[in-house]
Amino acid sequence: MIAFDFEYYKPTSIIEAVNVFQQLHLQGKEPIYYAGGTEIITWARRNDISMKAVIDIKAIPECNVLQFQNNTLVIGAVITLTHLAEANVFPLLSRAAGGAADHTARNKITVGGNISGRIIYREAVLPFLLANSQVVIAGPKGIKYVSIHHVFNKTLQVEKGEFLVQIITDQSYIGLPYVVMRKTKIQKVEYPLTTIAAIKRMGRIRTAFSGVCSFPFRSPEMEEDLNDRSVPLEVRVNRAISHVPAPLLNNVEGSAEYRKFVLTNTLTDTLEKLGEE
């Protein structure tokens, strides 16, 4: 049970959503945008967040798009992870997002919510980091199209009143060879020790990680190491892991030492599956 009260708004256009946010903000109601809402509800139940209003963006048409347009794949922010998997228009994304939570939860979790969330495990963002996708952000200053690398740094960096509308991916990435490996300690449905998503484009390996550090990431330094074919695979992997951009997670799912062990093996397997020797 959520112990505090809040108001609920369900705008039917982007401009309405932005205007409602600004009005509520001026009233001191600290509104938050709401898509699948799974994380908001669980945090609210534990009193880890508080808001006096939520703005449900599920009725905004642009947020519900899932289609190819002009050689790009456009995915609206409120498309659920299950919908993505069932449609399977981007197999790498289907596979990576299929690791989040469990199947029934994924019927409610949205791709935008997973990317924008506070939880440290956000597998849905990995394919977009690999594919240099563009994101569409709406806010008081209008609508902007920016590279995901410009707005995703540990979390989605949006300004107050902005929200994620769509993710746009060049169609040339859809059919690339890919690997997704998700390792958990015991069961399939639990937080991962490591999730690696990787593609091979024009002979170069790209990798993105979740569950390794306290945020999902893609590291240019690690990719330089992994693509240095002048040294043996083992050396490439060990050098790459030395460039993990933050301390390895050390929590109930696994110690940092165990994570490093799992990461080393999983990264090696990933490269081998992509034909590296």
Binding site: M1, Y8, T38, I41, H103, A105
Partner: protein, 162 residues
């Protein structure tokens, strides 16, 4: 659409339209149980983990503890009370697919949706779906047998059942 903190909601549940006064902050699970008397959906973890509260929303299983009741507007909700003598319920009986029974409504709703959405489900799909629910009596094998028996009955050529 704007909703103040408390309002009257028309909710479509089990083929009926029911009017309830709710708080925006109320979960669907809370309203089903406390206002509508539909206590088949069970509160377990209330954190989206255990699946005991699973209901169908437009035919898809949803954990009603992580859905606000206000989100149900315009959607068709089916709870365990809305299922009458379905093959899945009979299969749970025939395969002894429950022990204490607390998780059973959630499992049945999930399994009921599974065989309708994926009538050709293989073991991987079944296990992926069943991974959404927790049974502390550990009756998973029997539950899986129940699902397979319904799938087999839907497609007589299917010989998955043991």
């Amino acid at each position: 659409m704007e909703r103040s903190q408390r309002f009257v909601l028309d909710i479509h549940v089990n083929g009926e339209v029911r009017s309830v006064t709710i708080r925006v902050a109320d979960t669907l699970l809370h309203i089903l149980r406390e206002q509508l008397g539909l206590t088949g959906a069970k509160p377990g973890c209330e954190n989206g983990d255990c699946g005991a509260c699973t209901v169908l929303v437009d035919g898809w299983p949803i954990k009603s503890c992580i859905m606000l009741a206000v989100e149900a507007t315009g959607h068709e909700i089916i709870t365990i009370e809305g299922l009458k003598d379905t093959p899945m319920q009979k299969a749970f009986l025939e395969k002894w697919a429950f022990q204490c029974g607390y998780c059973t409504p959630g499992f049945i709703m999930n399994c009921y949706a599974l065989v309708r959405i994926h009538p050709d489900a293989d073991d991987q799909v079944i296990q992926e779906w069943l991974g959404s629910n927790i049974c502390r009596c550990t009756g998973y094998e029997e539950i899986q047998e129940a699902v397979k028996s319904v799938l087999a009955a839907q497609h007589p050529s299917n010989t998955r059942t043991s």
